[in-house]
Symmetry: C2
Subunit: 253 residues, 2 copies
DNA sequence: CGGATAGTTGACTACCCTCAAGGTATGTGG
DNA sequence: CCACATACCTTGAGGGTAGTCAACTATCCG
């Protein structure tokens, strides 16, 4: 397993997905620049490596710039549940600012490029700028909204509806940060990882994928998900993108 | 159905559950007093009345002082999923500060006493005081942590484990704000409401309750839940209270 | 006392799990 | 280039948890 590598900012691609999210969060000019300036310490994280361990009280906050990660909870019997998928532009562990110990782990699902931000520095920035504080709170709200939608998915949707909903969510979130378009996206997750996210078994994920395939809604091959009938997929999933709050932060007045 | 009534602050009980939460959130003295001063407009809300409707973009933020409420999502086919139980001291719709439209509704499950706060005033207060902003962000983190634990409950725990976990969570949260002790609490939820929270049917809740009863873990009668064997209940539930972050907000330095 | 709401029980069904085996793709070393 | 290992996907058979439908009971309140 390769070790995580530190990079200088000069090696970095532009922070585009992060910039997109900051703009949605209402940050422009000096405030946005101040946040991006904190992202000068980049790390490459190999797949399967964990960024945050359950019970940790880290001094570092990670912003995902490239790749996919997941927030995961482990059980005594070895099973696990993914509680969130972290996509480019998302913050992996924003609650480290306010909470003494994480109740989840964060694992890289693919090789990832992350910006490692000092908790202290980000906290100071938020304390000094109410727009930055509001932007971070907005991101917390979205994490929470997605988590609540997932509760509804696991609780009340059939596996078919749930899987369709997951694909709809991923397509929409990825398109919002410029990764993939409405025809599909690169799908790095194994069926086992999808199963961890959906709270079902990988065997059942497989059968469910095949159901969607058979009905001509999607194709899924070679880590590429193609949406063949977007309206029908949304209909099956009962997908309403409102909870993603893509309309950006609500201004105070 | 009785109409909601406005009360003067003079009619109010002390804001004890809210004060407890504010203290945990690191607010003392002037900051805490400033928040409590915003809570001068009280409303009595009858059971079943909704405080917030899905899709609303309210100008009011409600702090629950007495009674129980729930955040709820509705489906096209009429079923519903409760995504959070709101207990005394909790804020019903804190994300109204940052988000243009709620993706959930809030319903009073019992007669409730709430403080109705102007979004503008709370936002101004948070913009002017970084401790207030941090306290609100801390509350968002806890909402999120609970939601993620619920995902794990619905996704990976059996109904028996899940129900035990729900009882453990409620006991712990209520005890933290001075409602009930470790022997039990007043349980106003119907089995149908428990079912909406757990993502199962009320028939199955009934059978599951009886399972826990038969094993001598709990008794549940006349809206009183008694925990007969707290260690065993925690063991069944695989309950670890860490996610509730009862150790309070993490200081910045 | 009567009506409504909530809780209980039974019979049957269906979705998803478990266990197991086989298939396919990719990478590695001889 | 082939043998082999590994990881992932696919398929089948059988079982268990939870859903559905329906009836009945208990409790609360006017």
């Amino acid at each position: 397993m390769r070790m995580a590598a530190a990079l200088r900012i000069a090696d970095a691609q532009p922070l585009t997905p992060l910039t997109t999210r900051l703009t949605m969060a209402g940050l422009h000019g000096a405030d946005a620049a101040a946040v991006e300036r904190l992202c000068d310490h980049l790390r490459l994280v190999p797949a399967r490596q964990s960024l945050v361990r359950e019970g940790d009280a880290g001094e570092t906050i990670y912003v995902l710039l490239e790749g996919w990660a997941a927030r995961v909870k482990h059980f005594a019997d070895g099973r696990r549940q993914c509680t969130a998928l972290v996509l480019p532009g998302d913050v992996c562990n924003l609650d480290a600012l306010h909470v003494r110990a994480h109740d989840y782990g964060v694992v890289a699902l693919t090789p990832c490029k992350v910006a490692a931000i000092s908790r202290q520095q980000l906290g100071d920035l938020a304390a000094g700028s109410s727009s930055v504080a509001a932007a971070l709170a907005w991101m917390l709200c979205i994490d929470n909204a997605i988590a609540c939608e997932w509760i509804a998915c696991v609780g009340r949707r059939s596996s078919r509806q749930h899987l369709a909903h997951l694909f709809c969510e991923l397509l929409t979130r990825l398109a919002a940060v410029g990764e993939g378009d409405m025809t599909g996206f690169t799908m790095p997750l194994t069926q086992e990882e999808i199963a961890d996210a959906m709270g079902i078994t990988s065997v059942h994920v497989n059968r469910t994928v095949q159901g969607l395939r058979a009905d001509g809604l999607i194709s899924l091959d070679a880590h590429r998900l193609r949406v063949l009938d977007w309206p029908a997929l949304q209909r099956v999933a009962d997908f309403n993108p409102g909870y993603l709050h893509l309309d950006g932060i609500r201004p105070l007045n």
